[in-house]
């Protein structure tokens, strides 16, 4: 998935393409739910946040100027909606008064949510082999062994470590590039 694909996806959604809409949420729905969970929502609340974010996105899709920044944009909406939900349900637990925006931690937490959005976008821009390797070696729980991954990928076990390092470096460069471009 490249930024151009995200742009094409957004434009298709604007034209009334329902399948594009579903594809968009299959790609970014997990990000939205993850942001909700990391904010403190439970599983049911995260599912509700998904619908709320989808509603906001539908209302504001026409005004999204930079279509390549879909990930951070949705992550930011998810973070805000999650904080508001928690405030409404448990008004004394997170904030003493006002809305989520008045919390001094708000800017920092929003920045973290948007960073996760950039990270998600950067990960998706890696070539497929890097995505597979990093998922199996670092993200999967429990991670796969070097020997298992080497066997499945047709590589030597001694090459897995250097390849993983290069993939992570590429990921870091992509994140930096997205950050510099303001995503």
């Amino acid at each position: 998935m490249k930024r151009e694909e995200d742009r094409a996806l957004v434009r298709a959604c604007r034209r009334g393409d329902e399948d594009a809409w579903v594809t968009l949420w299959q790609r970014y729905g997990p990000l939205v739910k993850s942001v909700a969970r990391r904010t403190g929502c439970d599983s049911d609340e995260a599912s509700d946040i998904l619908q709320r974010v989808a509603l906001v996105a539908l209302e504001k899709l026409d005004s999204l100027r930079e279509e390549g920044k879909l990930g951070p944009w949705l992550a930011g909406i998810a973070r805000f909606q999650s904080l508001e939900m928690i405030r409404q349900r448990r008004p004394t637990s997170l904030l003493h008064e006002g809305s989520a925006v008045s919390d001094p931690r708000y800017d920092e937490e929003m920045a973290k949510a948007e960073d996760l959005g950039r990270l998600r976008q950067a990960f998706a821009q890696l070539e497929a082999r890097c995505q597979r390797l990093l998922h199996r070696l670092m993200l999967k729980e429990p991670p796969d062994s070097y020997s298992t991954v080497a066997r499945d990928e047709g590589l030597s076990a001694t090459s897995i470590g250097p390849i993983r390092r290069r993939c992570m470096q590429r990921l870091a460069k992509l994140v930096e590039k997205l950050s510099r471009s303001g995503s």
Partner: protein
């Protein structure tokens, strides 16, 4: 030693960092901060990989788009906004022992929802009233609610705009009113533990 590079941070994450880099981290808050950032990023990606969308969520997203997304039909549709809400005293609302009254506005329509229970042994009930500013109002159709957990209830709306939904579990709901070619959505109706005896 100068600050360590992001590549060196990544090597450290994989347990392959140099002794020099490890020593530097002990004394450099800035590089420790960068290491912490990448630790959080990796944990964030792990959390992402644990999440997925189930069939019901996908279905609801489709329905949302179908009803509110771009359409050649340009059917009238409104999204209600909450105007006011208040907890009810036992005598304030007919039949309800306790609960909440919520009033919404959506275009030419207004909706009042009374959510509560009729006694210690009863489940949560929603009693609704749809009104309009039109001179010769025609009200009818169906009002439905669906929660994030998949609980759904339907009710006909009578000529006076009234509807009743019974036996509502605690949760966060979205309400939809359908009448002829019109649609009105109440994005969020909360039924909290206080409403459920």
């Amino acid at each position: 030693m100068d600050h360590i590079t992001e590549a060196q941070i990544i090597e450290l994450l994989q347990g392959e960092g140099s002794a020099e880099a490890v020593t530097h981290l002990k004394t450099c808050a800035r590089c420790r901060s960068l290491q912490q950032l990448w630790n959080e990023r990796i944990e964030g990606l792990r959390a992402l990989s644990r999440e997925s969308l189930d069939d019901l969520e996908i279905h609801r997203l489709r329905v949302l788009y179908r009803h509110l997304g771009p359409s050649e039909d340009h059917l009238p549709r409104w999204i209600a906004t909450l105007v006011r809400s208040s907890r009810t005293a036992p005598a304030a609302v007919r039949g309800l022992v306790s609960g909440e009254i919520m009033e919404y506005s959506a275009g030419p329509f207004n909706i009042m929802l009374q959510v509560g229970n009729h006694g210690p042994q009863s489940k949560v009930t929603m009693v609704g009233q749809i009104g309009t500013t039109e001179d010769e109002p025609q009200i009818g159709g169906t009002f439905s609610v669906i929660s994030a957990a998949g609980h759904e209830r339907f009710s006909d709306v009578d000529e006076f705009g009234e509807f009743h939904l019974a036996d509502l579990p605690v949760g966060s709901y979205r309400g939809t009113w359908w009448f002829e070619d019109q649609m009105l959505i109440v994005p969020s109706i909360e039924i909290g533990p206080d409403d459920d005896p």
